[in-house]
Symmetry: C2
Subunit: 222 residues, 2 copies
């Protein structure tokens, strides 16, 4: 069996879960409390982060970026990385945008402060970080909306890793009620299309002790 | 002509310069002062970061990770990404280690505080950040030394992107005299091998206004 070591509200883990499901690759989830730094887990992934993919043949693949490149090469039948060099550049550019810039400017300030800090017992959210996160999210939602208006999917004419990276970040923010979808109707329409995919269903069923998502979180017609 | 928009002491730009030189792909450098946020440059790379690769055919490739994947696909003759799936996972894992974990724990605390802050006119280095950077560098040098002792190159039997990512970070730290090579003779021996490669020579000739590298910086027998 294939395993994914994960945390339910990690956007990087969610991206990998989405990609595996889109590629029709079965897997089992194992929650890894990375702040407890288990030796067995550090053997699989010395960086001690989630996700890590553990293949049936024993190959451990750490880091969501490394996992997605690996899956594209190992299971190329259903590709989420584009065909031409130019398409692949644009898909990887936007994936890096969401997993780098969006993550630093938004996810770390909101999800990081509200969820990860609490999980790791590192105190209360910082008000300045929350303010910066909400302000930055507005600009990012407008950019997603602009992409969704000018293209069929975020990186071009076919759905790609860029869509799943973006949707994974937004899904954890939506879980904590942090996304004001009124900012961009186009972003909202794109996210509704993402949410309605079968690969998304397990994410919408995720529950975390002590946190209740808003009613619209799992609603496909929000 | 192929252009690389860069800053001389950016480890990400240095990694791309090394990879291009190893792959025998000619290019010209253009300094991009990213903090000035030029509109022309933001058209090439909306994230406003360096490096960006601009190909002769007009294709703009932003982000050092995206550039290295692109170069591996566009110019596969000299590969720095390994052959088997397992090799490629290990090379990408270590590249992500240096460009993610090492960068956060060391480069940002030292190079970021001493050089980037000054360039962008954002004040003096933070003493706590410098202390954390030096302490973290010790552990990372020991890890590099351990890899160099147990393998021919950091990710396995052939030189790879992982070596160039690591050497790029260490080279900017060495420029500011921040690496205590006595911590790990094995890391030092590996870095001497990296420095002696023809691809490294242009990096050793880099000069930055107002900063003088230590004598051993460009010395192959340091």
């Amino acid at each position: 069996m294939r395993f994914v070591y994960h945390l339910p509200l990690s956007p990087y883990c969610r991206k990998v879960r989405l990609v595996l499901a889109e590629k029709r690759l079965p897997f089992e989830l194992r929650v890894e409390k990375v702040w407890e730094r288990h030796d067995d887990y550090l053997d699989l992934n010395p960086a001690g982060t989630v996700p890590t993919l553990l293949e049936d043949n024993g190959l451990a693949v750490p880091d969501s970026g490394v996992i997605c490149e690996y899956l594209d090469e190992a299971y190329p039948d259903i590709s989420l990385m584009g065909q031409t060099l130019g398409e692949r550049v644009e898909i990887r550019r936007l994936t890096a945008w969401f997993d780098g810039k969006f993550a630093d400017e938004v996810t770390r300030n909101l999800n990081g402060e509200k969820y990860l800090k609490r999980m790791a017992g590192r105190g209360q959210p910082d008000a300045g970080a929350l303010r910066a996160g909400y302000a930055n999210l507005r600009g990012h939602l407008e950019y997603i909306g602009w992409l969704a208006e000018t293209r069929k999917w975020l990186a071009g004419s076919t759905i790609s890793l860029a869509d799943f990276a973006a949707a994974a970040h937004l899904s954890v923010l939506d879980f904590t009620g942090d996304v004001d979808w009124k900012i961009s109707p186009s972003a909202r329409e794109w996210y509704a299309r993402m949410k309605s995919r079968p690969s998304f269903r397990p994410l919408l069923a995720d529950r975390v002790p002590g946190m209740i998502p808003p009613e619209h979180y799992a609603d496909l017609d929000f």
